[in-house]
Structure formats: C-alpha cells, structure tokens
Symmetry: C2
Subunit: 427 residues, 2 copies
C-alpha cells in the first residue's frame, strides 16, 4: 500500500491518544472509504430490500458481497459476462467480496475437505461443487470487487486446539496459494488471521499472515459462537501485530456496541448482517438501544422512530406508520427499517471518526456504552441456537433430497422458518 | 363539477372521433389528474414494496387506498389523529379511498346484512365489526382522501336477477344516505352503478345514481367473476348514460388490454391490483404481452426487461439481474418488477391520451391489441379459482378461531400460500 503504482492506499489520518482507535482513508479503484466504516452486507449482489440509490443516500461507502453465493447463483462467469459485479448490481462504489470460506465450512452440505480444496453440495440444488484457493480467486476476479478475501478454513466454536491449529495451518498454506493465483492488480487481496480462541495460535497466525505482505488484513474466525470476551481477547491479541499503515477488517462483527468496542481496539472495517436482519424482524437501533417496532406504544406515535436521526425513514414517516407497516406485514416495512439501521451504523462510524479526530474517542465510547442498552448474552446465545437449529433442518432436508434438486431453495422469501443462508424470518 | 366554489373540476380536453375515448383533466385539492389514468392500489396505505418517491418517479398521479382495511387496521381514527392519510403515508398527491363494499361482501367473514348496514368479523383478529353507510363516510372523512366512494353492496358472479336487484336497490338507498352523511366539502363523493350482468338493472341503476348528482361516477360490480364480454357489455350499457362532463371510473379493472378496451368505451379512471400482484410473482408487461422473469432465457440477458421502457428498473438493470433477484427470492425483485409494471401502466395511459388528442386512438388501439398477447380466459379463470380457494381456506381458519384472535393475519409476508387479502404469494 502507498505504492504509487497501486490504485490502493491507506492513509492514517488520526490516532486516538487513549485507545487504539484510528481514523483513516482507504483509496480503492471505485472511490475512497473513510474509516472506521461499517460495510452493509449484500450477500446475493443486493443489500436486502434496498437499491444502490438507497445505499448512497444513507451514506454507505462500501458494500460486501459473497463469492460462495454468487459462485453458485447466478455463477461468477455469468456476472463477468455481464460486465462484473459493480455493473451487474448498479453500484459504482467500492465492493468487498468475502471468499466464501465461512459459508463453505459452516453451511455447505456434505463437504469433503482435502489439502487441495473442498467438495460440497450446493444449498440451492444439491449439486456437487468444488472450491480450491485458485478457483475462489478466479471467481473473485470474475466478480471484480475492489477488495477480495483469501479462501480460508473457518472453524466454529468450540473447537479443540488440534482442530483449530489444523484449520489455521491450512488457512496459511491456502493464503500463499491465493496470493500466487491472483492476476488482477486492481483488486486488493486481504489476508485472514485465524486461530480460534487460542492466544498462541492467534499470535502464530498473525505473524505468518503478515509475513505474506498483503495490502490489508482481516481477523476471521470470530462471531462463530464464542463469547464476546473471547472475541475481544482475540482482537486484542492480533490487532497490535498488524501493520499500522494497512486497513484492518474484523469479519462478521457489527452491532453498534461491537463497532465501538472494535474501533477502540484498532479495527477500521466491519461487516455484519445484524443491522439489516433485525430490521426485517422489526427491530431498530437508537442511542438508547434496540426498539421493537411492533410494540403497542408506537401505534399512535407521531414522532419518527428516532427523532435524532436524519435517515429517509425518520425524515418522512411517523413511528406509527412504520409500526402499521410491520403489523400489516407490508414489504415497505423491511425497506424503511433497513434504511434506518444502516444509516444508524453509518452515522455511528462517522461520529466515532469525528471523536478520533478530536482526541475524544474514549469519552465518546464511555458515554455511548453507558446509554446504549445491549442485547444480553443469553439473548445472543438463544438467537444463535435458533439459527443452528434451522441449519440442521435444512441439512436434514438436503439429506432427504440426496443429491437431487434440493428443497432448501424452495422456501419462499419470508417463510416464518428462519433461513440461515438468505436471512432471518421475513427475507 | 365546474362549480367555482368547488375544489374539484373535470375538464374534457379531447374526444376521439371514432370511439368513445376521451382525454380530460380532473382537478382535486391535492393536484390535477390527466385522464385516462391508471390508479396504483395501496390497500393498506402503501403501494406494496414502493415509497411515495418511487410512485412519483414512475408517473403515478393518484393512488387508491381501502377504507375497509384501514378501518380495521390501524383504525381510521388513528390516521385522523396523525393528520390524515396523505400525511400518514407521506403522499401529497391525490388519493381515492374505496369504501370497502367489495371487501365486506366478498372477503369479510360471517357477515350479517340488514337494511341499516352489515355486521362482520374482522379478517385480522376475528373481532365483530359493523359498517353502515354513515360509518363508512365518517371513516372516509377521517382518512381524508380527495375522492371517496359510496358504500355499496357488490354481489359476485353468478347472481340471480333477484339477488342482483336486491343488492342494487340497497346500493341506491345507501348512496342517498352516503350523500346525506357527507360533511366535508373538500372530498368528491363518487356514486357507484351496480346491476350485475343484467342490462335492465344496469340501465335502472345508471338512471337512479346519476339522478343523485354526484361529482363523479363509478361502474362497480365488474371484475367479480363474469366474462370479459359481460364486463364490457355492462360498460357499454352504462357509460353512455353517465354525464359527459364528469369523471368515470371503472372499478377493479386494469390489465393493459382492459385499459385500452375501457378507454375506447369512455372510461377515464381505472384501478387494479393486477400490475403489482403479478409483478411480485415475477411477471412483467411489455408491448408484446406478459414476460415471466424467471425463465431461463433471461439468465444472461444484458438488455433490460423492456428496452423501450424508461422506468428506473429498465434504465439501470439488465434483465439478467432482475432474473437473478427473482431466482434468489430477494426483496428487491418485487420492488423492481412493481416499478416496471406501474410505469408501463402510466405510460400506456399517457400514450392513449396522446392518441386521443391526435384523433388517432382507434388506430392506436388496433395496433396495440394486435401485438399485445393477452392472458387467455382459461388462465384468468384458473387464477380466480385459486384465489377463491384461498379465501375459503382463510374462512375455514376463522371458523376454527370462532371469534377468538384469528389466524389469517398470522401468515407471514410471502408465505407460499396465496393470501387473497394482502396480495399473492410473495407479499
């Protein structure tokens, strides 16, 4: 990075004197990203319910899409033929594609791992598929995102030290292969640090991955079932070992309180389905914590969901109207709530950035965390258990389908049953 | 109309020399409507999946909402308290509210009709509700639409001559009561002609209703299961008896070919859920007829759905992208297809208007109908039978609920089962 021939650069603009928080500017071929930044998730080449114009208006700077999903449908080669992902989804700003490692290892059915790659059945039609580090990089080059991720092996939690080491070492070997496979110079390939909850593995992984000299680094293998404490311990172990002048991305983490906690530990980039998923379930963020839109108290509330918010939803609609849309199960509900939550995340990132410039991040963080009522650990674990139960159900159905056209994809959008791949409950 | 004290006026601007087609301008407190016009349906104070800005951008001049639905949820008094329907849904252009006669008589459960009104169970929670002509007008005044409809009794098809006469005569008595109940002068109350498929009844109804001197007239009791021929026969019987200088509205009719056929018979205003409903099921209009977006031929089509269309969807996305969204069952799919179909209807109305000004409507109509491949009668009847079966299922469930909280409303948005009240399949 900083190489004058590269279309990428990361400029560190301010560092907080009391924490590890940093403010920066990440230059990419499709524009600059000011950090810290939250990246809305558009798994299937669409941030659920929103147009690119909605995303621009709410201040999204970069969005995330998923190689695993697009590889299966419509196919990376189809998107390449149609001019690449930016053109396909009509989004002319930066995009990051996750490699699909997380999906292959946590969702893909009947997977068979070998040193060269992984063979699995598509969750869509049960067809046999194979991904290797080289094939993933080829697909990411066909998609053409600005930032692409290495193909890693992401283990769940809990995992034994031996399992975690095995996956970490394979991730390291695959990272080298990804690096060698890359041919496009207009995409920044980020390395991923693994190692689970084991400090010695995290230290080893950070050293090995940074030695490969990637233009940016991610901390993976978090948000897979471990406690918050274990997650932050891993971040505190790894972040100080990452190069100061390259962007740092904490994968799959992104509730409001997580953003604040992550920035304090030196993270620049975040992504998470949470803001859009809970929006579709009728829950929105405010500085006081989450608000459930279907509660009766909002039925006649003329004020917007959040009077301090400048989003499209809060600028034009009463809380009573959004409440009505959720009670009536109208499609517009999902869009209005998603806009609010993503705008909330963009504003939160902006407020933290400003606090860092002013040297006041510690005070901001303290104030924020003292007033924001977080979802407690037991709620988080319950949500996770529900998702796991749903995955098990989908796998059982695919077992039934046994290689024939699967049935997972035939669930309608918005079936009550939770669908772990496409989102929760309503979409 | 034309009364200088009235905020309403209808100006006839052009009449086709060869057909009954007319072009006009209908002035209302929230703006002018150039006719012929198609009114998108926003049953529950939202045109499914779209914002008011989407509707403005696609050229919608007036939208329709439904008193029956809003009376039950969130309550007309709630909307009144929040400043009326325009403010509630953030739509500052004309609105027409249907009275709910059609819903009460075709959808409402366990209804008991008497001369004064009708008692029924809510399809939402099974609670007992009562509507009379006076109560409907009160609700329509609380909602505050620009155009409000009389509370009528709409019989289905087939109906015996005695049943049709009975309902028609009650509709006439109720029309007088609606007229007397009206207190607001900034709303135009339209009379509704009934009479089913019986020409003598249609003639009698047109004479009786026009004698009440309403500022506009609707032809009701069509699109209830009769054949297209019977529908157009009713229109041909009634339209010539309606005052030339007042707007004419054909209720619940609005496929592209119906718009052309209706305009040729002197109709100015149309509404129908068809364009948005079939959009959500992945079917769009083009001048060649309907196109199914999920068909494989579109998988790699770089051209838009309709290269002649100027809508947001066709201006920014390939057919391949919209195809992908439908295959992936993404929420954005329903929005993009709805925008296209409503823009198609707005453009079709505009093209007819221009043809009328040019005296070329007959030629336009002939060309259009010779190239537009219509859904055949058997398809129409099959669709209707499916809807009727779904209604029966919902009624059966309400019978089970027997006055307790009903179960119809607990169906998620987008359950595969068709929901006749809120829309089809996906929303």
């Amino acid at each position: 990075m900083g190489d004058s021939a590269s279309p990428f650069s990361f400029t560190l603009q301010a560092v907080d004197p009391h924490t590890a928080a940093r403010a920066g500017r990440f230059r990419t071929p499709h524009g600059d990203i000011t950090t810290p930044a939250f990246m809305p998730v558009g798994t299937q080449a669409t941030v659920k319910a929103l147009t690119p114009e909605d995303l621009e208006a709410l201040g999204a700077q970069i969005i995330l899409s998923n190689t695993y999903h697009l590889f299966l449908r419509p196919g990376a080669h189809v998107i390449a033929k149609l001019g690449g992902l930016h053109r396909f989804m009509h989004w002319d700003h930066p995009i990051l594609t996750d490699s699909g490692g997380f999906q292959v290892f946590s969702l893909a059915h009947l997977r068979r791992l070998d040193e060269d790659g992984v063979t699995f059945r598509s969750h869509i039609d049960g067809s046999e598929q194979r991904l290797t580090p080289e094939r993933v990089i080829e697909a990411e080059e066909q998609l053409g995102a600005d930032v692409i991720m290495c193909f890693d092996e992401c283990v769940g939690h809990p995992a034994t030290p031996a399992t975690a080491r095995d996956a970490m070492e394979r991730t390291h070997r695959w990272a080298e292969r990804c690096r060698r496979a890359q041919t496009r110079q207009d995409q920044a390939l980020f390395g991923i640090v693994q190692g689970g909850v084991y400090q010695n593995l995290r230290l080893e992984s950070a050293a090995t991955i940074t030695a490969l000299d990637f233009p940016g680094y991610a901390i993976g293998g978090v948000s897979v079932g471990e406690s918050k404490e274990e997650c932050w311990q891993a971040v505190e172990t790894v972040a100080p070992l990452l190069p100061t002048y390259k962007p740092r991305y904490l994968m799959g983490v992104g509730s409001p309180e997580d953003l604040v906690d992550g920035v304090a530990r030196g993270i620049d980039l975040f992504d998470c389905v949470l803001p859009t998923r809970i929006a579709r379930n009728g829950t929105v963020f405010t500085d006081a914590g989450r608000v459930t839109l279907t509660r009766g108290a909002l039925r006649e509330q003329e004020a917007p969901i959040d009077p301090t918010c400048d989003c499209y939803t809060c600028s034009h609609f009463s809380a009573a109207y959004v409440h009505h849309l959720f009670k009536a199960e109208e499609l517009l509900a999902y869009r209005l709530a998603s806009i609010h939550n993503l705008r909330y995340m963009a504003r939160l990132a902006g407020r933290m950035r400003q606090a860092i410039f002013l040297g006041e991040f510690a005070a901001f963080s303290e104030t924020f965390l003292s007033t924001y009522r977080v979802a407690d650990e037991s709620t988080r674990q319950q949500q996770r258990e529900k998702r796991l139960a749903a995955w098990t159900a989908i796998r059982a159905r695919l077992d039934g389908a046994a290689g024939a056209a699967g049935t997972a994809a035939s669930e309608g959008p918005g079936t009550r049953r939770r669908d772990p791949i496409r989102g929760n409950a309503v979409a």
